[in-house]
């Protein structure tokens, strides 16, 4: 299988790819014309058949999500909203920034088609606060599209209207969680909402709402152009299509790469990412953003880059495709502490286990790093993680717990080494300050 397939990144190399002229010269907005002649239900069906899964991390089938929008007769006059999740906050993930920077029109085209499919007339793009330059570029693209009759009233003479607004976050990881994102969009603290009701039934402003990731929506024009079967030419049966992987860590060529799902992780590391620095060996991989369980080198060498294989072989998840590679120089205790510092900083503070438990896990880990620890701290740590996972309002709890559970399970010896060190240093006699013995000794 060819390691590189360009669906989403097709025109990233072209100069001026972010402008409407270049985008159109490269075939953009032809899918839109085709889509507007289709029935909305046909579009949803095509996307369902393509097997496109949510690229933000959860991997939920996109077409099925759209189909949860209640019909007009059940909405009681409420509007439907489409919200593009461009918060891109998962550590290790930076692909959406590239999508929007290099090809904002692909996203806009995908959003128009999706909005048409779900009967939405006002859509939002929620960008993380640090993406102000990206926002400016997306705003400019929206203006261009509007001026060309591709957005706004009566798009391409179809009678379909759509406005797209960008909305800037201001620094909160949790806003990548779709209900927190909606809270933030509504002008609240970015706190996740209880489910049920799910956003497709009651989302933004209590109206039916679809939240899709940038990459998910950007894939829609291609699916409409080539059909579900065309999209399925890439990837595996259950993980069709291509995926953008944000690669970082101890590799020679960090970057965003678009590959067909299903290539081996070995190829991913050695060929796509250019391998590890000279003289280093692989220790661990976090395959799908910081929240997913860590994989050992052995697991990595046996897994493929698709949803199913990563789960079966590595007990982990493909997640957002934030691919973090760690070599043999990595201190796994420090790496986990680093991640937990992140989660302790980002817990929204809404529900008890996450608010109180994640900070607690971080403090225990800090002590481990500082060598002020005993073996019972490891038990506490694991117990806390188990008591946070699945007991919280949103997935954040699990996101903070899974790294702890997996690091402790797979790299326990490194944690034990810290404890042994601590035990040794505590057992050693304390240094006696100079002069003390002389003064008091008979």
């Amino acid at each position: 299988m060819d390691l590189h397939q360009k669906v989403l990144s097709r025109i990233w190399d072209v100069d001026g790819s972010h402008t409407l002229d270049v985008a159109r010269a490269n075939g953009h907005y032809q899918s839109l014309e085709k889509a507007l002649k289709m029935q909305p239900a046909e579009i949803t069906e095509e996307v369902t058949n393509s097997g496109l899964r949510g690229r933000g991390g959860a991997g939920f089938p996109a077409g099925r999500k759209w189909s949860f929008i209640p019909g007009p007769e059940k909405r009681g006059g409420k509007p439907v909203y489409l919200v593009c999740n461009a918060d891109e906050s998962e550590p290790g993930t930076y692909k959406d920034r590239f999508c929007m920077w290099n090809d904002p029109h692909m996203l806009i085209e995908g959003m128009i088609i999706a909005a048409y499919a779900i009967d939405c007339h006002v859509a939002y793009i929620y960008l993380r606060g640090e993406f102000r330059p990206v926002q400016a570029r997306v705003d400019a693209a929206i203006e261009e599209a509007k001026a060309a009759g591709l957005l706004g009233k009566n798009i391409l003479g179809s009678g379909f209207d759509l406005e797209i607004h960008t909305h800037l976050g201001a620094g909160a990881y949790i806003c990548g969680e779709e209900t927190a994102l909606l809270s933030s969009l509504e002008g609240e603290r970015g706190q996740p909402k209880l489910k049920p009701p799910f956003p497709a039934v009651e989302g933004a402003w209590r109206c039916p709402t679809i939240v899709n990731n940038v990459e998910t929506l950007s894939a829609v024009p291609y699916i409409i152009e080539k059909g579900a079967a065309g999209y399925r030419e890439f990837g595996t049966e259950q993980s069709p299509g291509t995926k953008l992987f944000s690669c970082s860590g101890h590799i020679n060529n960090p970057g965003v790469y678009e590959v067909p799902l299903g290539i081996t992780m070995k190829d991913m590391i050695e060929k796509v990412c250019g391998g590890l620095p000279e003289g280093r060996t692989l220790k661990a991989v976090i395959p799908g953003g910081s929240s997913v369980p860590v994989m050992t080198a052995e697991e990595a060498m046996n897994a493929n880059m698709d949803y199913e294989s990563i789960q079966e072989v590595g007990g982990s998840y493909l997640g957002s495709g934030g691919f973090i590679v760690m070599d043999d120089t990595t201190d796994m205790v420090a790496a986990l502490t680093n991640l937990l510092r992140f989660y302790a900083h980002e817990s929204c503070g809404q529900c008890t286990p996450c608010r109180e438990g994640v900070g607690w896990m971080y403090r225990v880990l800090q002590r481990l790093c500082d060598g002020v620890c005993t073996e019972s701290d490891l038990e506490t740590l694991l117990d806390l993680a188990n008591n946070i996972h699945s007991r919280t309002i949103c997935f954040f709890g699990a996101s903070a717990a899974m790294p702890v559970q997996s690091f402790l399970a797979k790299f326990r010896d490194e944690f034990m080494a810290r404890i042994d060190e601590a035990a040794t240093s505590l057992a050693a006699p304390l240094p006696v300050p100079e002069g003390v013995l002389d003064q008091g000794a008979p």
Partner: protein, 528 residues
């Protein structure tokens, strides 16, 4: 109505019932902090996590789980016990260990649930997160942010009930802290409720702080006498001393709230304005002497009996019968308006401009008599000396009418007013919390008051005082047990048909307009 199963026990519950309420119906208490029956569901404390046996995936929170057919939950599994224990451990992790000096002690859910569900040994080796303490945030409330469990009940109260939104969570993570915008203060009439709904010691009531450990207090169900809304209250007392009024939940009247001025009315119980002893012509007297004086002086006079808009149905009923059956020719009056000095306030929520608690009841009783009239008629009757003597039940009749006292005034009541001051004979009665009785609120709901502390001083229960007048005027009017007086009234009044104290219970019943209509018993309140 869906049928759900709780720990194997099937129960049919109303549509929309959540599993905390459903479990309560089968006697199963699911612990919770953030859930409150009269606020929206927040689901943040995670204390109500339960196992879903059938019809869903678990564990999940009971408060956000609506009853549906086929749903079966368990609250008695090892996992549930373990989850509760863990949530308790998390909540207490950064909670200060200040129970000995915390006034929530005894009614604190952290304490209660620790005993029931926690009982863990501390394994905290790291310093606690500290927050701000003892902030004066309003006329009635002190805030201790460190004790807060971030349940957001107070935030939701401000958003959903008063609409003022002063309290908010600030920051995030375990530094999340409840507070107000710097320099702002609570500015509404419902502040006390914040302390009531706070499940821990974060928000406490200034007035009650450090006055009494709650475990010494007894509670009696009663109704606020501050206005015609008739908010349901618990009277908290020890011996003959009342320490506070707390709102008592009644979804048909006041939900779980009372206003601050209503809450502060407990102070009237021991106020210097209480009438403590019978008085004749301004001098302290005894019951036999005062009663004899009243009856002797009334004899042969043209009498007006003013029923009490602040008196119970029972008192009014006996006063009407006294007028009709023992004081021949007496006219019966019910006076409009409020006593002079009553607060002028009203709002959309609970505060009514009518500051009487039983105007509907007084009017209902008066309507059973053919010879009744209002204030204007009484005023002209007094001016024309068609009435020479007044028997006044609790209301400040002279103050309301703005007239000089007639030659004879007999006042029966618990609080001094301009009428009692002008009265020739004063007969002190128990206050509304010291005796049982019933009232009818502005919405036509008949509500029961139960007996709280003993009457102060020489005060007698109202019906007894009236009947003793009757005894001297020709004979007792019958039983002076309030429940019996009420039942005899209910038999002669179609609007109260079939009602008894037992049927009224804690939640009261709406007036039935036709005697054929049997009132539906109100649903039982959820057990707390």
């Amino acid at each position: 109505m869906p049928t759900v199963k709780i720990n194997g026990v099937e129960v049919e519950v109303p549509e929309g019932t959540n599993m905390i309420e459903a479990a309560a119906m089968v006697g199963e208490e699911i612990p919770h902090y953030c859930y409150h029956a009269d606020l929206t569901v927040a689901g943040n404390c995670r204390m109500c996590l339960i196992d879903v046996e059938e019809g869903g995936r678990g564990p999940d929170i009971a408060c956000n789980m609506q009853a549906r057919d086929g749903l079966a939950i368990r609250t008695d599994t090892e996992q549930v016990k373990q989850m509760r224990k863990s949530v308790m451990e998390m909540l207490l992790k950064n909670h200060p260990l200040d129970c000995p000096i915390c006034d929530q002690s005894g009614e604190c859910r952290l304490q209660d649930y620790y005993m029931d569900h926690g009982q863990h040994d501390s394994r905290l080796a790291d310093p606690k997160v500290t927050k701000r303490k003892r902030m004066d945030i309003g006329d009635h409330i002190v805030l201790d942010a460190e004790r807060c469990v971030a349940c957001t009940r107070c935030v939701r109260f401000g958003d959903e009930v008063t609409g003022t939104g002063e309290l908010r969570l600030f920051q995030r993570t375990d530094h999340t802290e409840i507070g107000m915008f710097p320099g702002e203060r609570l500015n509404h009439e419902y502040q006390g409720n914040l302390a009531d709904i706070c499940p821990v010691g974060a928000l406490t009531n200034k007035d009650f702080r450090f006055e009494k450990r709650v475990w010494y207090l007894k509670e009696a169900n009663s109704v606020c006498d501050g206005c015609a809304t008739g908010c349901n209250i618990s009277v908290c007392y020890q011996g003959s001393e009342v320490f506070r009024y707390m709102p008592r939940r009644n979804p048909d009247v006041n939900a779980s709230w009372i206003c601050d001025s209503g809450r502060m009315r407990y102070k009237r119980h021991a106020a210097s304005t209480r009438l403590l002893a019978p008085r004749v012509d301004g001098s302290r007297s005894s019951w036999p002497d005062a009663l004899a004086a009243a009856v002797e002086r009334l004899a042969g006079k043209k009498i007006g009996v003013v029923l009490g808009t602040q008196a119970t149905l029972e008192e009014n009923h006996l006063a009407r019968r006294l007028a009709e059956e023992r004081l021949a020719g007496a006219m019966i009056f019910v006076l409009e308006g409020n006593d002079p000095g009553a607060e002028e306030s009203s709002d959309e929520l609970l505060i009514d401009a009518d500051k009487t608690m039983n105007r509907c009841g007084a009017e209902l009783v008066a309507s059973m008599s053919s010879a009744t009239a209002g204030g204007e008629a009484l005023k002209s009757a007094l001016a024309a000396s068609e009435i020479e003597a007044l028997v006044v039940l609790r209301d400040d009749a002279l103050g309301r009418l703005g007239v000089e006292a007639p030659p004879l005034v007999v006042f029966l009541g618990d609080q001094a007013n301009s009428t009692s001051k002008a009265a020739n004979v004063v007969l002190p009665m128990a206050s509304h919390v010291e005796q049982p009785g019933t009232t009818i609120n502005r919405g036509g709901r008949v509500q029961l008051l139960t007996r709280g502390p003993l009457p102060v001083g020489d005060a007698l229960p109202g019906v007894e005082a009236i009947d003793r007048m009757a005894q001297l005027s020709g004979g007792s009017l019958g039983s002076t047990e309030e429940w019996a007086v009420f039942e005899s009234l209910a038999q002669s009044c179609s609007a109260l048909s079939g009602m008894t104290y037992g049927a009224l219970g804690g939640q009261g019943l709406p007036l039935s307009l036709a005697s054929s209509e049997q009132p539906d018993p109100a649903p039982a309140p959820p057990a707390k």
